[in-house]
Symmetry: C2
Subunit: 110 residues, 2 copies
């Protein structure tokens, strides 16, 4: 139960729509900064700043290739957020089931 820390950073990072867009493009294909910026309605420095946040959250990793920096998905950070959500999803499922059962019992009881 310590995905909480990393999961929070990840969720905070994925809260911005532009960052989600960048994230999804990287998911399709690892890309360099300028390459990403060319397909987006924001400037290249803006993309750089977003990548910095995504990297700090552990969602993407960077690899130098000449003067280019190739960004790709980082399974670790993504996995942390996934686990956090999965845990809450399971909680929600059982809670919902219990709730539905109780409703049913109440109706049957009267």
């Amino acid at each position: 139960m310590n995905y909480a820390n990393k999961a929070w950073d990840g969720l905070a990072a994925l809260g911005d729509p532009t960052r989600r867009e960048i994230f999804e493009r990287i998911a399709i294909r690892p890309s360099a900064v300028g390459e990403l910026a060319r397909g987006l309605p924001v400037s290249r420095p803006a993309v750089s700043q977003h990548l910095k946040v995504l990297k700090a959250a552990g969602l993407v990793s960077e690899q130098a290739q000449g003067t280019r920096r190739i960004y790709r998905l980082d399974p670790r950070g993504i996995g942390a957020v996934r686990d956090w959500l999965d845990s809450h999803w399971a909680t929600a499922m059982t809670a919902f089931q219990d709730y539905a059962d109780r409703q049913h019992d109440q109706e049957a009881g009267t």
Copy 2:
């Protein structure tokens, strides 16, 4: 592959730390608005507004109980975000594996 829509709303909603805090408290135990506000450093209307966003994203559901509104987790919205993340996590894993293999082959080749 249409969790994208709901997942985006969910991620946008969970981007705010106060909303995540509210979300986690509801996960522990379904609660009314005032009850939540009492344990948080923000006013009751602020909590109301956050719950509105969470509900619109399909992450929580509301049930009237007298003048009180009980909020509980909604598995549907949470599941959508979970699936979105799970999908990208799987992508990241295989991509990372491929990348590692290629690095290894390159080293062996020389």
